[in-house]
Amino acid sequence: MSQDLIVAHIPALRRYARALTDNTWAADDLVQDTLERACNKWRLWLVGSNLRAWLFSVMHNLFINQLRQAPQHAGLTQTEFDEVAGQLQAPASGSDQLLDLQRCLLQLPPEQREVLLLVSLEDMSYAEAAKVTGVAVGTVMSRLSRARTRLQDLLDAPVRSVPDGAAKCTTTPRVATLHRLK
């Protein structure tokens, strides 16, 4: 398979990994692991079939495996880091909103987060998202419903009495630190 065709997908893979993990380095590790696995499992890609869906499904499997194996995180996620940094400066206007969204997104269970991202970021069809995540289309739709409904609930949650610049999402994000499989 031509190197060019694979390399063309790397930016989108990086974006998806970043959105899943909210950690630049863990994200790039995930992409690297994905490319390695794709290389080793090359025979499993059916010639002429959807290369993008296959690459994303490899990443999906790795992500789920890593979640199962990783302990709860000890270090700061990018969001927490930004939050601390944000409290040290005057709050900006637009970026607060995005920070909120990021925080709320991370509170979604991984399977809901994945489906929401694949459909919203990658413009995947529901059938394609089903292939990537290895479930039925009906499951994709129900996860999508739960994701969007829950995300809206999180975004709408009333602000507790906290210092300026703090988020509306009040619980700590349940994000596991990903470790490289080696």
């Binding site: 974006r15 690297q32 919203s120 969007r148």
Partner: protein, 276 residues
Amino acid sequence: MTPQAHTPLTDDELHALVDTQGTADALAGLQLRLTQDPDAQQRLAQWQWQREQLRQLYRDVLQEPVPQALQGAARQAASARQTSAHWRHLGGMAASVVLAFGVGWLSHSSWQNAPASFTPSSVMVRAQLEHNFVRQASVAHRVYTPELKHPVEVAAQDQTHLVQWLSKRLSKPLKVPDLNAQGFELVGGRLLPGDSGARAQFMFQNAAALRVTLYLGALNQGAAPGLSGQETSFRFETQNGTPSFYWVDQGFGYALTGQLPKEELLKLAEAVYRQL
């Protein structure tokens, strides 16, 4: 208004509107029902906002240059190809990944199943064989496609004879793919010399008189024993500005060449592959 117009929209229907999935007619029908469903209108607005904000959130990553670790290894891989010593000592896993893709990861099955009989040098030989094959396909394409009077030796109206003749010379029952669905009709075909035997070239053209050629024939298996019969997936190569997709199937090489954008050429190559 029909009774259906008052049915509240289901979640699935809302998703379809947010993500623009489904036929234009179906979506138009949903829009119509939406006008009667203020709850759905509110949820749709919320979900559309979510979607736009999510895209905004990670837009930058898409535009970031791919980091060294993931892509710079391609340079190492290109130079590493020259020495077999580098095969196992590549700087970082990314390099081995890109190397694998760069070489085309030819005999991955023999790599995993029979490491004892596998040597990097035989893979190099194989890579060279395939590279030669594509080069020959590409040259044949450039030589014959500009021809007005004699683009082919046997024309499409003698297709049965053409196929019988070339099958006999290539010692393999051949099938000419039908590319009419893609807008290409058969012009005809010809016999050509290959490294050590006969090759065939079929020429197709579309309504804009753009021509593509399908070049096929046995790869010289004598030079790379033990690797014959291996299959590869599609690879892409451009020679002198002429792009080709090529693959190997049961010891036969196939190359589809044409001045088309990569995605369109790939679609044609897939159509050919499915039929052969």
